[in-house]
Amino acid sequence: MIGVQATDQREGVDVVHYSKNSKRRISMSSSNSQLFEVYREDLRRYISKMLACPADVEDVLQETYCRVYARAAQSEKQAQNPRAYIFVTAANLIKDFLRNRLKSERREGPSVEDTSLLSTEPNPENEIISARLKRDMLVSLERLNPTCRQVFVMHRYQHLSHSDIAEQLGISVRTVERRMRIAIDHFRNQLREYL
């Protein structure tokens, strides 16, 4: 929600500045682009459900457009169900985007713009994912069965391997994997509106 509002406020003001991560900008005028236009607003809503920064939303949107356009001729899937194809492409890009952003933050620490603010307060401007998604994820983590939550947290947030977790908790690797699977099914169910 917040992301969408911010987009509206900023649109047409200084989009280029906020799109610092974007590598390509392409303008299209063919009929392929019309296909994309049909879903553009839906797609923007979908992406802004997940990403906090309007610039990131625009970047993913643009990148999706590029991919869909580039593969227009060769993809059967796209012809059969263009909407599904476009949304799956966007989902993949969001996934890559999150992975890359996370990696680069680990390597370099927060970006220059972030540190120049000289503040340790959480700044909504620097958030990657939307506040609503974050809240929903925390609530579903809270709702997860505690034994599964323990395994999940150790694996994803303490970065322990299945066998390390098994050893630490004195349970079998199979049990660790079973609990991970239950956790994943739980999240898929709880967060289905985003997937």
Binding site: I129, A131, K134, L141, G170, L195
Partner: protein
């Protein structure tokens, strides 16, 4: 989404593939599973996206309490084990040793078993107009108001209650080692030995303390509110920041519903009607907007719509018309 049980699900594959020592055979099998059905690929990609989203919380301060929780559990288990081994090391003669190892074996069995025990989760609910009181295993009590759902999950570390919907008053028996937490509207209400009421009213949540002390923990940031005492209540929107305000009027309303009564003390008519409707299948509609802010007072039994409507006709210039399962309150003139 769920296929027949023979087949491995997307989540099973995800876990299998993300094992550090995954072998080629598994990878091959995974590839062919993906090719088998387009739905498989979609399901699997859903898992990937979801995990990427969840992983993005990794460096977030909001995740710290969860990590802390597992660390506490781990140390607790280690010290439990250390306790077992000291029993083992103590006895001098063989008989005692044998006995001790038997005890140890039994305890270990119990301990290993306890890991696989599903956490007991009990769901309690009430329909519109119903009320219910529940005694929990630790002696704490829950009074559930109309149209409410509460889920109770107790384990050795924590007494957790999720108020999914509606309103409940909790009477908590204090246990130092096991906090009593109510999850409501994306925040945690932690009792410090007390009686308090939580009301999930649409997206707006109200916490009032009747006795003792309560603190509200904001789930996202982990920040705690000031300590709430009777007369100081907390309000927040779903998952939003917590506001603490002076408010003792709500206590009258709460003590009233606990007694099965509605007490209106200079309430605006439309608020009184809204309150009445929470308990009634047959909803009342105010068809006289000019009277919305007319103040009324009175005491009624919950569910006694008849007394309420006749009182309204006595004290206000209105008529009551019943039609299509709706009770319309109309201006008389």
């Amino acid at each position: 989404m769920s296929k027949c049980t023979e087949e491995r699900s997307a989540s099973q594959w995800y876990v299998g593939i993300h094992n550090a020592c995954v072998d080629d055979i598994t990878l091959k099998a995974f590839e062919s599973w993906l090719e088998e059905d387009p739905q498989h690929r979609d399901d699997y990609e859903q898992c990937e996206l979801m995990m990427a989203l969840l992983d993005s919380l990794a460096d977030d301060p909001a995740i710290e309490p969860f990590v802390e929780e597992t660390l506490i559990k781990q140390t607790a288990e280690v010290s439990k084990l250390a306790g077992f081994f000291s029993i083992f090391a103590f006895p001098a003669n063989k008989f005692a040793l044998g006995l001790a190892s038997l005890v140890l074996a039994t305890m270990l069995l119990w301990f290993v078993g306890s890991w696989d025990q599903p956490v007991k989760s009990n769901l309690y609910q009430t329909g519109v107009g119903q009320q219910r009181s529940i005694q929990l295993q630790d002696g704490s009590g829950v009074a559930l108001n109309t149209d409410s759902v509460v889920r109770v999950e107790y384990n050795n570390e924590r007494r957790k209650v999720v108020l999914e919907n509606g309103e409940a008053t909790f009477s908590v028996v204090h246990q130092k080692a096991r906090p009593f937490d109510v999850l409501a509207g994306g925040n945690i209400v932690r009792a410090i030995g007390t009686r308090f009421n939580v009301f999930v009213n649409g997206g707006e949540i109200h916490i009032s303390v009747l006795e003792g002390e309560v603190v509200v923990v904001h789930l996202e940031s982990g920040t705690k509110s000031e300590i709430l005492v009777p007369g100081r209540s907390a309000q927040y929107k779903f998952g939003g920041p917590v506001r603490v305000v002076d408010d003792s009027s709500d206590i009258v309303r709460i003590e009233a519903w606990l007694e099965g009564k509605l007490i209106f003390n200079d309430w605006d008519l439309d608020r009184a009607i809204t309150e009445h409707n929470r308990y009634a299948d047959k909803k009342m509609v105010l068809d006289a907007k000019n009277l919305a802010e007319a103040e009324i007072s009175g005491v009624f039994n919950i569910g006694d719509t008849q007394s309420f409507t006749s009182a309204l006709q006595e004290i206000l210039p209105v008529t009551v018309v019943e039609q299509n399962n709706i009770i319309a309150i109309r201006s008389r003139d």
